[in-house]
């Protein structure tokens, strides 16, 4: 350990002081949950984006990931279950310069909130959506969700789930997202890169982060031990930016294909279109 690191450990200050809300720590996340490191790189990505902090807004729905917005010292909004995206749209279109980031879980964004996701992508709403996919409903005690794969055990899938899971990046691509990436929480460097790129993007950018949830997913699927899920990620992950997103569904025995699958420039955003409508509607004004 270097002298600098020692100094840091002994210091009362934390590198993220000022970016987290005073008095909100300790957080509610379980030991070995990956939401801590995801929050960490999200702050770094926002901070390094150079965007005026006043122009940042973070919105989440309900669930474990849904708690992240409330820890961040930006304009932050903790909405109802599934509804972060339409809230973000209301925030986004009222100030074209505002950068709105939605961070929420797979159940929140793709079960109860699925309709909003597909339409926001279709409209190319100028928001960044981050989904932390932990394959189950953690906050409510480990029920099966829209990303639960066949053969996975959860409290509401006591005989093993038999449903097909959503292939989230493919859904985002097919609905028109201009940026789509997926990484695992093990690879925080790439997660951060993806966050940075998504935040810099104009239009509907989407990042799926595969999270580690030992408490309610792991323990029912022989992955309870602290870093076991991350080890599985290490073992099964294949980096392939050129992958056809139709082929990257995550099943029990499939590899985990990660990468940046889509990065499109210059597609008009919902905000651009609304401003264009204003111009068209006002064209007759001076006559």
């Amino acid at each position: 350990m270097t002298e600098d690191q020692n100094e840091l450990l002994e210091s009362e200050a934390h590198p993220l002081d000022g970016f987290l809300r005073e008095g909100r720590i300790p957080h509610i996340f379980c030991p070995a949950c990956s939401l801590g490191s995801i929050t960490n790189v999200l702050i770094e990505a926002i901070n390094e984006s150079g965007i005026d902090p006043k122009k940042i807004a973070v919105v989440s729905g309900i669930g474990c990931t849904g708690r992240i917005a409330g820890y961040l010292n930006y304009d932050s909004f903790h909405t109802t279950h599934g509804r972060a995206i339409p809230f973000a749209i209301g925030l986004s279109v009222t100030d074209p310069e505002r950068k709105v980031i939605v961070i929420s879980g797979d159940g929140d964004l793709f079960a109860i909130g699925g309709n909003h996701f597909i339409h926001a992508a279709r409209r190319n709403a100028n928001i960044t959506v981050i989904c932390v996919n932990n394959f189950n409903y953690g906050m409510t005690g480990g029920q099966a969700g829209p990303t639960t794969y066949a053969g996975q055990f959860q409290t509401t899938a006591p005989y093993g789930s038999m449903e097909e899971p959503f292939n989230i990046p493919n859904l985002a691509v097919s609905c028109g997202a201009v940026y789509v990436a997926r990484y695992t929480a093990l690879d925080v460097r790439r997660v951060k890169e993806a966050f940075s790129e998504a935040i810099a993007k104009s239009g509907f950018s989407f990042v799926e982060v595969l999270g580690s949830c030992p408490t309610t997913y792991g323990r029912r699927n022989q992955l309870a031990e602290g870093k076991k899920i991350l080890e599985v990620f290490a073992e099964k992950t294949i980096l392939n930016h050129d992958a056809d997103t139709r082929d990257i569904r995550i099943d029990k025995d499939s590899p985990i294909i990660v990468g940046k699958f889509v990065d499109i420039e210059d597609k008009p955003t919902l905000t651009d279109n609304l401003l264009a409508i204003q111009r068209v509607s006002q064209a007759k004004k001076g006559r």
Partner: protein, 387 residues
């Protein structure tokens, strides 16, 4: 002023012949609404259509969302973005909105919802009138809150109460419902839009302290906290969870009690400033009709007919449905032999009137279950039977 130029004015001063739906939309624009999020539904769609046409001309935004849930949440987001926002719907859409009206109540978010009522339950009578959402606007969302619901009975009042709805929303920081009905929404009559200078506009109170010392949910004397919005440097924190004055989640009975009591009391204790009724020939009345919305027009006809026959009937028209004017009704109960409540539902306001009179007079509901308003004659017949 030429019609073309008027398109680009917030306030289209002058005389118009138009529908309640158009009038309500113009009222919203007149008071500075700059964001509309909505989903098509009969019989309210003309409000969305008017906003789609007019808002961009005024530098505002119209978004047609994928459903009513997104619509209400979108306008909450826009309100936190710093603009006056609204949606419009009918009963089924309102049903989808109620959870997030609750979010608006808990987070004290100013916005306006117009509900143009049709016959229900379920798909019911999409193109025909109903007054069956009285209780939905009060008790629709879970938890305790005290809503403000306004009920116009003319095209002119659709315009005026749309303005009032925004003013209450901004003053007391809550979603306010303008409760119209299909007859009003689709009926055409004269609308006079006053000069822009005559329109009262209330804006939400802004915090005076610095962002460092700011407590976003510390109320002023009227129990309403000043509101910082996104982008002002206050690092707004909004949550639907029970929260303390800092806006932080604080899940215990004490904080819950303090917060929920306050968001109710800010309306209860200011009830006198909010409740509005119209009294017609009540001074010497021996019988009273309590009515609201389009039915109140028929009820006024009943009063006129009864008076010609020498029966002393008066009308108490409810303009504010919630908070309910209990005290005025209790006073009336001491005066009259009987109160008649014609309404297009199976007794939603009648039950409130029964509660308010404390047994001091007889109350009779005259119900239609949807699809048509009462005929003045049929209300009169009920009174004649007793007089």
């Amino acid at each position: 002023m030429s019609k073309q130029k008027q398109e680009f004015l917030e306030v289209r001063t002058g005389e118009h012949f138009t529908t309640g739906n158009h009038a309500a939309a113009e009222g919203a624009l007149s008071v500075g609404c700059k964001f509309f999020g909505g989903y098509p539904i009969t019989p309210s769609s003309e409000i969305a259509e008017t906003m789609a046409l007019r808002l961009p001309q005024l530098g505002g935004n119209f978004v047609q969302f994928e459903d009513e849930i997104a619509s209400i949440v979108g306008i909450l987001g826009a309100s936190w973005g710093g603009v006056k926002s609204m949606t419009a719907t009918s009963g089924p859409g309102y049903s989808l909105m109620v959870e997030n009206i609750g979010l608006g109540m808990m987070t004290e978010t100013p916005c306006v919802i117009i509900n143009v009522q049709r016959g229900g339950p379920s798909t019911g009578l999409p193109t025909l009138v109903g007054q069956q959402d009285i209780m939905q606007t009060k008790w629709g969302a879970h938890g305790d809150f005290e809503p403000i619901v306004l009920c116009p009975n003319s095209v002119q009042e659709c315009f005026e109460l749309a303005i009032e709805a925004f003013n209450y929303a901004e003053k007391f920081r809550l979603p306010v419902t303008l409760l119209m009905d299909e007859v009003l929404g689709h009926m055409s009559e004269r609308l006079i839009i006053p000069d822009a200078s005559k329109i009262t506009k209330i804006e939400r109170k802004k915090p005076k302290d610095s962002p460092e010392n700011h407590l976003p949910y510390k109320p002023d004397e009227n129990l309403v906290p000043p509101m910082a919005v996104a982008g002002e440097g206050y690092r707004v924190m909004m949550t639907g969870l029970t929260h303390d004055e800092r806006g932080y989640p604080d899940l215990n009975p004490e904080t819950q009690d303090k917060q929920v009591r306050r968001i109710n009391d800010k309306i209860r204790l200011n009830k006198k400033d909010i409740i509005r009724v119209e009294e017609y020939m009540l001074d010497d009345a021996e019988y009273a009709i309590i009515s609201f919305g389009s039915v109140a027009r028929a009820a006024k006809g009943t009063v006129n007919r009864a008076r010609k026959k020498g029966i002393k009937v008066g009308l108490l028209r409810l303009i504010t449905i919630w908070p309910f004017p209990d005290e005025r009704i209790e006073a009336l109960a001491k005066q009259v032999k009987k109160i008649y409540v014609p309404e297009i539902n199976y007794g939603q306001i009648t039950r409130e009137v029964e509660r308010s009179v404390h047994g001091k007079t007889e109350v009779k509901g005259i119900f239609k279950l949807g699809g048509a308003i009462h005929n003045p004659q049929e209300i009169l017949k009920e009174i004649e039977g007793d007089a």
